[in-house]
Point group: C2
Chain length 362, copies 2
């Protein structure tokens, strides 16, 4: 029986792709790129790496039914829902507790739900290296993405000297994690070759992450002990999560552990990767027309270029004399936003959620 | 029995207010400004000036039912539909023939269907003067709008010397009609005080317009004789129009008659007037928010000013980081267009009508 587990973090709230994505239908449940929901692509990408019974999904309570419905290839009990979102440190802790119940000797890969990776073989090979590294030494392994441009939208991993070689592939010590840089710093990072994008993919043994949480996030770790005791007493996971989870700190695993621990190593990605975090990023995956407009669904563009228009097959969106605009039409809401303000959509969605008239549209 | 008739030309094709206006639901059938369809406001504005049985509406065949339904205050037979649109000269000729059947001694005011005039008393008073002028001399009377700005979107009437005084109000000879000027010319016109906007409102007797058509548009006049003979033979108006109308020239009354005739006079408007010919013109009639956005229906604007957003009460249109944009959402189509390109909407609608996939959206 495999000792390797994968836990997919599917806690997105559907903000950046609003109005197509919603609280109950976030990006990972949409076929943003590719014919299937991003989460389904993520699960199918694991085929041959770990068996379905070793794949868990952590999602929000309001998304559980939708996730279970599209991920019927997994056992229903492997879809775990948080009663409230508590960021990635809590999800990592929850994953640790759940997998530990199955096998205290297990190793776990934590993966995001909604990224694009097309080269499955390379992905499997890199993950295998990461699992081997985690299984051979008590380290926290991250997968670092080799940067292809001076991106300012990602955190970076500062790669140090070689820590170990596995099957001809180097695993490096991590000197540190750095936050999203400005463009000058990002250019320096790219030129140096010593910085990798932090894609939020981690591999560790139950023991290693248990210890790391104990040492670096002691309050969360105590709460996780309560979660474990509840389960040991025979309570259902849902019942004990309802009790304990709301008290968890809301903190990312990067802040809580990765930036503090001194036993972090990194394996370099050798696969294509795109987190498609915005409409402009999505548009890069579709063939534009000769005026560089990207259209999905029914649209007619007169005298405009560089626009991204998303509708359905029946509602005609017409754009006349406008450039570089994002237009997304859905049955009950339409978004209009310049491409270079795509990052403001989150702010807009917050405003909509705060408006008693419109919060149902979030 | 009143010898005065009003014929309202309601032949608009709903292009400039697409997608809210459509071929079957053009501007005059919409409450663009004011709570009632523009055409209903136009009919109600005549209350006290001419009796309902003397008010006719000429509209398109595809709009007849909708017009009859909103104009139930008029006799059903007074709503006349053209089998095909043939511009204003044909409509003027048709009006002449219809009214002549009722009373060859009658006078007729031809009025547009979709303008805003709020000062009903002044409007009645000016029209009364125009009727008196037409009844006292064999002239073609136009109503000229005193310009309030150097508009380049209207044709102008060049006012000459006083022709006659009626009840203390001057009626002037017309020196000529001029086409839409450029901005420099428009400024000169405004400064001179001798130019008035041509709003397409005309008053004449049956005899005067009959003679003017005979002299200036002989081919159309011959076709009108066919129309009259058909009616005299006892054919229905609809049947004879189906026969004759498609052969009519497609020409405006301005080109066909007004610019050629030497017996044209003008009465100056003393009422407010706005033809609200575009979304930006409409927006001027609504109170903007503090960032000068004009919103009708459900909209949320984040970081944007000067926008015009039109939706219904349920579909939320959100605009984020955009200025001076027109956004109009309807059930089956959405328009996005900068305010300064509002005149291109007609072109866009033509393109939609030419597209076999989308012509039903026109």
């Amino acid at each position: 029986m495999s000792k390797r587990y994968v836990v997919i973090m599917a806690g997105g709230r559907g903000e950046r792709f609003w109005p197509q994505s919603r609280l109950r239908r976030p990006k990972h449940l949409l076929p943003i790129v590719g014919g299937k929901p991003m989460l389904v692509q993520t699960v199918e990408r694991l085929d041959g790496l770990v068996p379905p019974e070793n794949i868990f999904i952590i999602t929000g309570r309001e998304q559980q039914d939708a996730v279970a419905s599209v991920c019927s290839m997994l056992p229903a009990e492997n879809i775990v829902s948080e009663p409230v979102g508590r960021d990635t440190a809590a999800a990592v802790g929850l994953a640790m507790v759940i997998v530990k119940q199955r096998d205290p000797q297990a190793s776990i890969a934590m993966l995001p739900a909604d990224h694009i990776i097309r080269d499955r073989d390379a992905f499997h090979s890199v993950l295998d290296t990461a699992f081997q590294a985690a299984e051979s030494k008590p380290v926290l392994v991250t997968i670092g993405i080799s940067p292809t441009e001076p991106a300012t939208g990602y955190g970076y991993i500062h790669r140090g000297e070689e820590f170990i070689e596995i099957g001809g592939r180097s695993v490096y010590k991590v000197k540190g994690f750095v936050e999203k840089p400005n463009i000058e710093t990002a250019k320096r990072y790219l030129d140096s070759g010593d910085y990798l994008w932090n894609a939020g993919m981690f591999v560790w043994t139950v023991a290693a992450i248990d210890k790391a949480l104990e040492e670096n996030a002691s309050e969360l770790h105590r709460s996780l002990r309560d979660l474990e005791s509840g389960l040991t007493e025979g309570k259902s996971l849902e019942a004990v999560m309802d009790e304990v989870y709301p008290g968890f700190d809301r903190i990312s695993i990067d802040y809580a552990v990765m930036e503090k621990a001194d036993n972090v190593v990194v394996v370099e990605s050798e696969f294509d990767w795109d987190d498609v975090g915005s409409w402009p990023a999505v548009a890069r995956h579709f063939k534009p027309d000769r005026r560089k407009n990207t259209v999905r669904g029914a649209a007619l563009i007169e005298d405009g270029s560089g626009n991204i228009v998303v509708s359905d097959s029946k509602h005609l969106v017409t754009v006349c004399g406008v450039n570089d605009l994002i237009v997304v039409h859905t049955d009950d809401a339409t978004l209009i936003c310049p491409k270079d303000k795509a990052q403001d959509i989150k702010k807009l969605v917050k405003k909509i959620g705060d408006d008693p008239n419109w919060k149902s549209h979030v």
